[in-house]
């Protein structure tokens, strides 16, 4: 099992390296001259040239990449073009802020989605209503839902702050947005899995043992629902940590997503690269965590690993 874990880590690192290469190449596809972004007022080509020379932008692509990758291997993400600070020191606090939002969002979607899925399975009467809710949530673009919530709870009812920031009061609406957008997926997984489980031979065995419905649900059915849900939580945490861009922009939540968007505008390549790499690492890491967790919940996956 340890060997399997090590293999996964190695594959994960290879995936991250691949992302680094792709992101680096993409940077150069984005039109624009970082030197002009750094010194917008400088008219003299000599000044711009010296900026480019300073940032090694005049060197061949492969040399630039080798330099960047070498630094990366030493744990150095580089320095922001604009803010003249290390990328790590800029991303660090943002990572924490985004982490809080990602976690709150995942908790919200698990609770909302899980409840919808369980209700839809157990109570036939609300099933149609719940699938209508699911469809609606799936159809709404995330920024529309975010703006809608902001409009209703922020501006109309004035019970949520509209100014942005990273406080607990400001967390509610973006987390709810993530929760509502993600909920249908969890509802679907939970309902499917529960229906399979309820129709299974082992539930019939449990019935034949004279166990009560609620006991069977708790001890036999829900345990079998857990495993796929954990996989999805891992995927969500990873992808949210790479920046929930839309939600952060709508709610002015000062996380990685907002930083990445601003840096893209400024052609601040080191920061963009930094956020991409953090995102890739987060996805790999949380998938791994989810796999390990699943081994505890579903013993069959222990042999698969």
């Amino acid at each position: 099992m340890a060997r399997a874990l090590i293999r996964r880590v190695v594959f994960g690192l290879i995936a991250v390296a691949g992302v680094v290469v792709l992101a680096f190449l993409l940077e150069f596809v984005v039109p624009g001259d970082p030197a002009k972004a750094i010194a917008p007022r400088a008219q003299s080509p000599a000044v711009l040239a010296s900026i480019r020379a300073q940032l090694h932008l005049n060197q061949p692509l492969i040399v630039q990449f080798a330099g960047y990758f070498g630094n990366l291997l030493r744990g150095n993400l580089g320095t922001s073009y604009i803010q003249r600070q290390s990328v790590a020191s800029l991303i660090g606090p943002r990572l924490l802020t985004t982490g809080v939002l990602a976690l709150a969002g995942v908790v919200a979607e698990v609770i909302i989605g899980g409840a919808l899925g369980i209700l839809a399975t157990l109570y036939g009467r609300v099933r149609a209503l719940i699938s209508a809710v699911n469809l609606t949530l799936l159809a709404i673009p995330i920024f529309v839902l975010g703006l809608l919530l902001l409009l209703v709870f922020g501006f109309q009812l004035s019970i949520a702050p509209v100014t942005g920031g990273a406080g607990p009061a400001q967390l509610v609406l973006p987390a709810l947005t993530l929760g509502l957008i993600g909920a249908p997926w969890y509802a679907q997984i939970v309902a499917d899995q529960m229906q399979d489980s309820l129709a299974s031979s082992y539930v019939r065995t449990a019935v034949s043992k004279g166990l009560s419905d609620s006991y069977i649900l708790r001890r036999h059915v829900l345990r079998n629902v857990l495993s796929p849900a954990i996989t999805m939580v891992g995927l969500d945490l990873g992808s949210y940590l790479s920046g929930v861009v839309t939600v952060e922009v709508v709610f002015i939540w000062p996380g990685i997503g907002l930083l990445a968007v601003n840096s893209l505008h400024n052609l601040d390549r080191p920061i963009v690269m930094g956020t991409v790499i953090i995102g890739a690492v987060a996805v790999v890491f949380f998938n791994l965590v989810a796999d390990v967790l699943r081994m505890f919940v579903d013993p069959r996956t222990r042999e698969e690993m």
Partner: protein, 371 residues
């Protein structure tokens, strides 16, 4: 009449049982008794209603099934009990052994706990006590290192071990009745023999009666005291196993046995015996005997009147109903039951030579008996 010879109440008494799935009448007016400590084999093709009958007796059919009739287990009338009332007593009245133990055990719960919850819920034991009792139950079914096995998950066990776990679970509370649905079908031959030996031994020790669904005539011969043959939702013949084997009265039973005889003693390469045609599908049952379209002995009355289950006339005896043959409980639903050991299928009969008038349009299509 009743197969149970002891003074004890029979393990299972079914009377006038009907099972319907919407318009499909899966089990029709069926009566069956499993004597205390007796093994009754329920034989029939897929779709004959044998599983529906057994699941109805165990009250494990889905809610979409409409069940009528009386079911008594160990003398206790259970068909009138409400859902939660029955739930409380069911595990001490009957245990179930499924065909596919891998599917019938929860994949994410250790097997010891799956057995132990029976003791925890029904015998009021604490968790550690229940775990201990589960280990003892595993030891009962001759599992080596039961304490270690109790901590394993179903996928970590072999097929035979899983079936032993199922048996331990079914017999945990020593119920008077065990409903076993082809418990050895999924196993290889040597494991099958081990499991059969184990069940034979446990049965002698625990005095549980078995309702044993099977299509393996070898298993029937080895283990069963009594055999009931089902066709198209009816029991068409039942009686002591040796009588059924030696002097089957229903042409369908004869056909089943002929298939088995071919398997055992037929010349290599010779075609296996098959009952021509196939059972009536839902909604296409003839008004008379459901077997008439496939039957070599069918006459006009067979196509008009559905025969009821009557005492069979004994071997060679031309007596009236209630004669010597009925004393052993042998009953058959046929207008022309075999009166001698020469079976209906003894002479090779091609479809063209069949003496009886045929109504079925599946005449001549040599459907395989799915046995």
């Amino acid at each position: 009449m009743t197969p149970g010879q002891s003074e004890q109440a029979p393990a299972l008494e079914i009377a006038d049982l009907n099972v319907r799935y919407g318009p499909v009448h899966a089990v029709r007016d069926t009566c069956l008794t499993v004597g205390a400590g007796q093994v009754v084999a329920l034989i029939g093709e897929t779709g004959s209603g044998k599983s529906s009958l057994a699941l109805a007796a165990a009250r494990l059919l889905p809610r979409s099934a409409a069940v009528t009739g009386q079911v008594a287990i160990a003398g206790k009338e259970v068909s009138g009990l409400g859902g939660s009332e029955f739930r409380r007593v069911r595990a001490s009245l009957l245990g179930c052994i499924a065909q596919d133990a891998m599917a019938a055990l929860n994949p994410v719960v250790p097997v010891g706990r799956q057995i132990g919850e029976l003791f925890a819920v029904h015998a009021g034991m604490s968790r550690p006590q229940a775990a201990e009792a589960a280990v003892a139950a595993l030891a009962q079914v001759e599992i080596r290192h039961p304490a270690a096995v109790a901590r394993l998950y179903p996928h970590q066990l072999s097929g035979g071990m899983r079936q032993r776990v199922m048996i331990a679970m079914a017999m945990a509370l020593a119920p008077p009745l065990i409903v076993a649905d082809e418990p050895t079908t999924a196993l290889d031959v040597s494991t099958q023999a081990e499991i059969l030996a184990l069940i034979g031994e446990l049965r002698a020790r625990m005095r549980s009666g078995f309702l044993w669904i099977t299509h393996d005539m070898g298993v029937v011969a080895e283990l069963a005291d009594w055999a009931a043959v089902m066709y198209a939702g009816r029991i068409v013949e039942q009686g002591p196993v040796d009588v059924i084997f030696d002097a089957p009265a229903h042409p369908y039973t004869e056909g089943l046995l002929a298939t088995r005889r071919d398997l055992r003693s037929g010349a290599p390469g010779a075609p296996l015996f098959q009952i021509p045609g196939s059972p009536p599908g839902p909604g296409e049952e003839p008004p008379g005997c459901p077997f008439a379209p496939r039957c070599p002995r069918a006459t006009a009355i067979c196509n008009e009147v559905d025969p009821s289950l009557e005492p069979a006339v004994g071997e060679g005896g031309a007596g009236l109903a209630g004669g010597a043959g009925s004393m052993n409980g042998h009953r058959v639903a046929c207008h022309h039951p075999a009166a001698d050991a020469v079976g209906a299928w003894a002479a090779p009969a091609g479809p063209a030579e069949k003496p009886a008038a045929k109504t079925g349009d599946n005449l001549g299509t040599a459907g395989t008996v799915a046995l």
